[in-house]
Symmetry: C2
Subunit: 445 residues, 2 copies
């Protein structure tokens, strides 16, 4: 066995190198304690709402077989993957999304799991994209899915959960809205307008960009997908059409009629939850991914300052298509980056600093053992407690206690040790009292 | 833009492939909900104890520059790294340990951070080792460190925190012990015994294996490190020597005398915390890593069934040696794999299943909107609530509620809707009562 390098050797090596100058990789974040507190606040809130809805948490490995991703999304996703060959010669990749792992895990136990499966996860995901506002090379994402349900009520459940997550952060109807549509509805309409079946995936991808790109750009993409020019113009003109008008214009298509009926029930039920005011039908909301089969939705900042906060929908054929069980499913993903930007924008990041409950001051080093006894007894009662490791002067210790936001300072000097007492100062009021140790511990639970 | 693949295309591709047959990579874990509950229990407990001790949480990226690791540990660590060249041509690696990231982050802000820095983290770490009992290719690890302190009290603080973490899981003095020593003490002794300075790192590495390997093996390694045969035998014979005997035998070495004095203060202070019974001096406990400079310690199962549960020590020169600030530091790492094995072995995994608070039964589909209203009002009060998405028969719904462990079932039928009431059944007692909705919500906060 070769021993590790000695510190002397390390010292010699550092001539051309300074750790001080190193930073994390571009697009990757360091979470210093204040940043970490916000991340924990976000994850805690995600978990709390998922818990209320009766979902249970799972996770998979951040590193998976490359094949798991290329099979679902095709070779083109490899361009954004952190993919490599490991020491054992396996082609592997850092997970760029959670759905393939989710599908793999559900597939392995599909028969034994009671339906509906209601699972959520909070994975860190990785894509080698150009870092930009709201998009990094890693992010944390709430994934929440229901498997084994086709009911409208399960559509409502997933959308309501997404809304309630944002409400739990303090965001209201004035802050965001849910735009929703139905993939079957839009494909029915496109077919009625003369778009060939083979042109549908291209048409979905083009419509997905209709908000951000010029009409010309969208019309060109539609033409590339084999959509006749006249139909393409009609598709673009759908923007402001409501359900009633659609029913009137496309009443001849059973696909359109059925999905309009389903959308009406969706609306009624969402109203019943009390969350109807957050949601708006938008026929052009299709989402880019080819695999959606019904409801599609996105959550957007009403002030238009950010990318989509959350997106999801129903993917009834996907699990089977990727080689998994033939089970319908739906769900959404919500990332932490845009969400954190939105919370900061609306001043909804709470004070997350954690103050000490108690700081135990010892007057001189002789009282250190007694201070340690008290510190550990208080910690044993669940309190957050610190003391001075160096037995510095009392004034200095009080200053540290103050900076740490301690609620109480407990002073132990020679007299106190002799009498089995201590002095307790409540920092907010300045009130001081001398009490016995038994009383201190009784007061501190 | 190329559109994503259609489901039809995906279907064609799956001919030779079944997701059902895929598993995670060897040495990587899937966390199904029950596994995830245990992982969350472990992480929650780690955080709770770190919090009580006044530590704050940080995190860094799981992917870092390869150089960050090769600089600290030398090129040989590359053999265990998941290292690759990313799309941008950068040499990168999945983090195999947290200390380099910790050193990098502290270095970047060292001047502005109040000392002592008391930070902890719960990273997932990655090493391409042969998977075996207690060792996988990924694990989660509590890292807890203090920077900017040389005091004995800070040594005690870190060891006490490690002990209290295990106590918080329900483990007691009969379950585990802390073995500790001092790297300066052992190097002073080795020098006194005639081991040349250059042979020290090799001697540390050999002693680290003394428990697991034969005496012959250890003697051979010591010889390779330039330790004379006579000295090597003396080193091995140190196993059962206590502090008093060491003071007697090596009283001529100021390094030995100083570190013995420091160890005595360490013992006195650890006794004061009430945790002295967990700890045992073991002169041969050196830990393999070259960079320790003082206290070294490990937590071991007293029944000898598992690998070390936790290990750490003081590394006063490391931050500077790797190009960071000249600050003393100490800390420990505790992984989740051995810990979980130990908890299972001692039957200390609590029941972590999460039951529903309420299940809302609706008698037929007409009452679904009213049920949704109640479900969401209860969730808004923080309760964990589910209902049947398919409006199946009442008996079926009760069965599902029972299986989900619901505390209460709330029944809404046509009569109840008309009167603004519901029937509440307490599942534990079978007691049923009819109450108004206002009363239900008042009862449910």
């Amino acid at each position: 066995m070769r021993p590790a390098l000695s510190v002397a050797t390390l010292r010699r090596r550092r001539i051309h190198w300074r750790l001080m100058n190193m930073s994390s990789l571009p697009g990757f974040r360091d979470f210093y304690p204040a940043d970490m507190a916000l991340r924990l606040h976000i994850v805690r809130t995600w978990r709390e709402v998922a818990r209320r809805y009766g979902f249970v948490e799972y996770d998979g490995p951040p590193l998976e077989s490359l094949e798991l991703y290329t099979r679902k999304s095709g070779e083109e996703i490899v361009g954004q993957l952190y993919a490599f060959t490991d020491q054992g010669g396996r082609e592997v990749a850092l997970r760029p999304e959670m759905t393939p792992t989710f599908a793999r895990m559900v597939a392995a136990r599909a028969a034994g799991l009671p339906k509906p499966i209601k699972w959520f996860s909070v994975p860190q995901l990785f894509r080698h994209e150009r870092p930009q506002k709201g998009r990094l090379r890693e992010h944390f994402q709430l994934n929440l899915d229901i498997v084994g349900e086709t009911s409208v009520a399960s559509d409502v459940e997933v959308v309501a959960a997404a809304i309630d997550v944002l409400r739990e952060f303090g965001l209201g109807e004035e802050d965001f809205e849910v735009r929703y549509s139905d993939r079957r509805l839009i494909s029915g309409i496109l077919v009625e307008l003369g778009v060939p079946e083979t042109g549908l995936p291209g048409a979905f991808a083009a419509l997905d960009k209709a908000d951000r790109e010029s009409s010309e750009w969208v019309l060109d993409r539609l033409a590339e997908s084999g959509v006749p020019r006249g139909a393409a113009t009609d598709v673009l003109a759908l923007a402001d059409v409501d359900l009633q008008e659609l029913a009137h214009r496309f009443g001849g298509s059973s696909e359109v009629v059925d999905s309009l009926e389903r959308l009406r029930r969706f609306q009624t039920q969402l109203e019943a939850t009390g969350l109807g005011g957050f949601a708006r039908f938008d026929v052009r909301l299709v989402r880019g991914l080819a695999y959606y089969t019904g409801l599609v939705f996105e959550l957007w900042d009403r002030r238009g300052r950010f990318r989509a906060i959350c997106g999801g929908g129903r993917y009834d054929d996907l699990l089977e298509a990727v080689g998994g069980p033939a089970l319908p499913a739906l769900g959404f993903g919500m990332g932490d980056v845009v969400l954190a930007e939105l919370l900061r924008d609306r001043d909804l990041v709470p004070d997350l600093s954690v103050a000490l409950d108690d700081f135990v001051v010892h007057v001189s080093e002789e009282q250190l053992p007694e201070a340690l006894r008290i510190v550990h007894a208080l910690r044993g009662r669940g309190r957050r407690v610190a003391f001075d490791y160096r037995s510095r002067g009392v004034a200095r210790q009080f200053k540290v206690a103050h900076q740490a936001g301690a609620g109480r300072v407990i002073v132990v000097g020679p007299e106190e040790v002799e009498r089995g007492e201590c002095v307790v100062r409540t920092m907010a009021t300045g009130e001081e009292r001398r009490i016995g140790l038994a009383e201190l511990l009784a007061d501190s639970s």
